[in-house]
Symmetry: C2
Subunit: 293 residues, 2 copies
């Protein structure tokens, strides 16, 4: 059956909007998310546009700061300092990737971790790993929320994570093994150095595919009844689309879907949940739920 991320995200945005309405009615300020966008990368433009739209739907204030590709690292660091100091801004993100002359790591570490609603700052990564309250990075958090809202059993399940990136593979593996619900799964992380990745997939009750390899997870890798979470979003050329491309996931959806119990589509699965997790973190930041004011 389909795990409808778009619909779940819409529900959660409505829940957040209701909460914001109450906050505002009680005289509190609206949550405020700022985003820094550098350059004109098509993917980044789209993501940021979606985030701005999600802010509107949630009743948040949003600010978009745009810089050209030739912005210096020093200029960006100054912009970050200003956002760190701006009491009206509850949280902000710097849309990645950045031009090569700028150190993404330096930029991420310059963000006040109490406003790091992307959850990329080492303090938030470390706190997540230890199991302390923190801003969870958006994609892993979105996956956990889908599992929770669809009541998918994870305790004791064999969970195979494909990919070991800092923003998806490693954190979602940590969350899935944590003593929590959802969580408590037996997690195996596969990656480019895994020789028998297909055999390992065949034993999985849950596959979380985050390789960025379109159609990698084929029907012959699926244990019947498995749960498939597809994090892949590769743009592949498609002449029939106005944009000239479409998004393809890591899963061969058409052939896998009949075999599994639950599956996320691409698009409309994990993607919308990623954005909604960012909204949730912004709400948590505005309420000072994670870190005191």
């Amino acid at each position: 059956m389909l795990i409808d991320g778009k619909n779940t995200a819409a529900q959660i945005k409505a829940e957040i909007a209701a909460e914001v309405a109450t906050m505002v009615a009680n005289g509190q300020k609206r949550p405020h998310l700022a985003a820094i966008l550098v350059g004109h990368d098509g993917g980044s433009e789209t993501y940021v546009a979606h985030k701005v739209k999600a802010c509107e739907e949630c009743g948040f204030t949003s600010t978009l700061l745009r810089y050209e590709d030739d912005v210096t690292e020093a200029e960006l660091l100054q912009a970050i300092d200003r956002l760190n100091a701006d009491n009206d801004v509850d949280g902000f993100i710097v849309q990645l990737p950045l031009p090569r002359h700028i150190s993404e790591q330096r930029i991420i570490e310059a963000i006040d971790y109490r406003k790091d609603v992307d959850g990329f700052h080492p303090i938030n990564v470390g706190r997540m790993s230890i199991g302390l309250p923190c801003f969870l990075s958006a994609t892993p958090a979105g996956i956990m929320t889908l599992l929770e809202r669809y009541d998918i059993p994870t305790r004791g399940a064999r969970c195979v994570v494909l990919g070991r990136s800092n923003i998806v593979g490693k954190p979602v593996a940590t969350l899935m093994m944590q003593k929590a619900t959802p969580g408590n799964a037996t997690v195996t992380v596969c990656h480019s150095a895994t020789p028998d990745i297909k055999d390992i997939c065949r034993e999985a009750d849950i596959i979380i595919a985050a390789l960025g390899s379109p159609g990698f997870v084929t029907a012959d890798l699926i244990k019947p009844g498995a749960v498939i979470i597809d994090v892949g979003t590769t743009r592949v050329p498609d002449a029939t689309r106005k944009s000239g491309f479409r998004l393809r996931g890591d899963v061969d959806f058409d052939n896998v879907e009949p075999l599994c119990s639950w599956i996320t589509p691409v698009p409309g699965g994990v993607g919308p949940m990623t954005i909604v997790s960012l909204m949730k973190n912004t709400l948590l930041a505005a309420r000072h739920d994670i870190y005191p004011a």
Copy 2:
């Protein structure tokens, strides 16, 4: 064959001592490790005594600050502030566990992460997870050093980690999956909610056992030729010993040893390496190799 942690640790301490001698000959100050010990727990006393002795062997200055069991959290936090501010102290540890009226997490987070040579501060945990330079927590680092010094192949190996603690299971899993040597393994983390833990062990090329369950890893769980790293150190009563106890690992050593290619004994395996990793971190702190002065 035996992975001789005691001997490897002795070698590394000699290497560190040689380096310290050069530093001192060049007019630099000796590295200085401080330790805070609360109460009179037998295990903690022993560990701290070993650490003080290791400091001597490495040519480090060491300071031991002792507090009684009824020390307040505020007093400990003040002691930590003084160590944070003390320019002669390069790194320090607070020996765990602490009395129940003190928040271990609050204590850990009060330590300046640039002096956190135990690697328990969220910043160091997060940086390790991301793959950035940091103080690696001592036991996982000791395990990686043993694998490195014994030239044990890990790339593409199936590595099963038993236990998901913050100080061993989770960080060693992260290090073993990292794109590095040693590392690049396909890691599965098993824990109390894993139903088929024995079957999973049977597929392992490398087992890292950190359950604290004496003799859990029996011969029938071993794939012939596997590498066995035993992190368990449970004190079991032993009337034949002066101390009244002996240390038992998580592995049924006598029956497992003939089947595997490499195995760490308990004691004399991971334990001495844990202490030597702390010494290495202290040296790195004194040289400001991880974080600038």
